[in-house]
């Protein structure tokens, strides 16, 4: 066999590549497979949260805010437990960001609330003196795109086996089921139901009226998404 390989340089090169790549496979693949598995407690996004995630992307929040807590004492003191790769299992695309003009938002749901976000989005500088974040007033009038969010849910559940309507293990040992609608109309109804929970903690009367009449302003979807970041 070796005599044969010596006379066939192409296959010899292939053999060398396989031999060297093997080391990489052994080192990288098992670790990657283990680390990219969803962490216990990580759940898929609901329809409204996904719509909010799209609002987040649309407004380029990730240009100023990261979603990646590094394992340094100074960061974990401020933002909570350092990020694990399995926590991004349902993020498509991930929103790590590359620059922190504002603070990290990986676990913002743990220490900010709906009413805080509402006040802050209207006028950031009124809440955080010296903040350079602009106001996002249009989020209160624009409507969230539930259709696209539902389409995304359908796609990821079919092509990437994202476990919608299936039990997902939680940290306390229980199981949680994130439901996905069966039709567009049902998706709208479910998103609206979620929106009503968020809006109950809000003060803006126009937003409350919009949700009461069956519309979902972008701010509601965005807050649902931010609250889900834990």
């Amino acid at each position: 066999m070796f005599h044969w390989l010596e006379k066939h340089p192409f296959f010899f090169a292939v053999g060398v590549f396989v031999a060297i790549a093997f080391a990489g496979l052994v080192e990288i693949v098992p670790n990657f497979a283990e680390a990219s598995r969803p962490v216990i407690g990580t759940t898929p996004y609901s329809t409204l949260e996904l719509a909010g995630r799209q609002v987040y992307i649309k407004n380029s929040c990730n240009a100023c805010h990261s979603q990646l807590i590094r394992p340094f004492k100074s960061e974990t003191d401020r933002y909570g437990h350092y990020s694990l790769s399995g926590e991004y299992a349902y993020d498509r695309p991930f929103l790590w960001g590359s620059k922190r003009t504002g603070p990290d938002l990986m676990r913002v749901g743990n220490y900010r609330t709906t009413d805080w976000h509402e006040n802050h989005m209207k006028d950031p500088a009124a809440i955080v003196p010296g903040s350079i974040m602009p106001a996002y007033k249009w989020l209160f009038t624009n409507e969230a795109d539930i259709d696209t969010a539902f389409a995304e849910q359908l796609t990821v559940s079919q092509f990437f086996s994202v476990p919608y309507n299936k039990p997902v293990p939680m940290k306390d040992g229980s199981n949680k089921i994130v439901e996905m609608a069966g039709s567009v109309a049902e998706a709208h109804a479910m998103a609206l139901e979620e929106a009503q929970v968020v809006v109950a903690d809000m003060k803006d009367q126009d937003v409350k009226d919009a949700v009461a009449s069956g519309k979902i302003p972008e701010i509601v979807a965005l807050i649902a998404y931010l609250n889900s970041l834990k």
């Binding site: 394992p71 004492k73 401020r78 609330t113 709906t114 009413d115 805080w116």
Partner: protein
Amino acid sequence: MNKLYLWGIIITAAMLGFTYVSVGMSKGGLNGDIVNMLAVAGAVALVIITVFVVIKYVRQMQTDTAQGELAEESWDNIGEYKNPVPFGWAVMFLGTMVWGMWYFIAGYPVNAYSQIGEYNEDVAKHDAKFNAEYASITGDRLVEMGESVFLAECKVCHGLAADGIDGKAANLNVRLEAKTIKYAINHGSNNHLLGSEMAMPDRNALFNAATGALISDEEIDTVSDYVANGMSGAGKEIFENTCASCHGMDGKGMDYVAPSIATFTPTLVTNVLNHGKKGAIGTMPAFKRLNAKQKEAVGAYITNLSK
């Protein structure tokens, strides 16, 4: 003399000359410090050793003749002698294999660098330092520490002056504001301010003992102002007949029953930080990631604010 030795001398001289010139032209030159001189000595040694080794092996190729028995295997007509493996080489080879096994089994797994390991060490070091320096502080230093934690964690909602930024969060310079009290009376409250007490019922279970009836809208307004004014003014009787059975005549609360509504207490603040809170203004999240001493310090700071 063999031509090879002549070339050796010429090349050595040329390289030494080049070294001399380039060092002489450099800043510091040949009178540089000891480290420079060591580097120059190393360069000289390298030149001489290289020339010596090259000459040795080229001479060997020129004069050596093949000895020993050829192996039967031939690779494209290139043969190999059956000479024994040199002893030193064999020892090195086996030694490398043993080292390889050790490195694979123990060396790497035990000594490998881990980012999380470094993080854990860092946290342990900080915690030890924190405990050594702050674990037993009291009084003014505790309040000072509470202020710095407040500025880092709480001011985002409660504001630099702890005034709640125009009603967006609770004003911590007073124990309670009238609207907060009204909300609690109307809706009840279950914020675990003592940690394990029963929930406060809403107005449908709050009787005024003097009138024997449920507390009325008017009475709610009066008693709210009474509590918000620091337990003074009109409404003392309503308070004593309705609220005092749990919160005490002076409003300072009772252990295991109801929290103080006259003053902040460090326990109360710690419990809010542990459980979060829901009230008239909105929801406050829990701040469990603060350590026990930091929570105590925030409690001391906030208690101190409303004094």
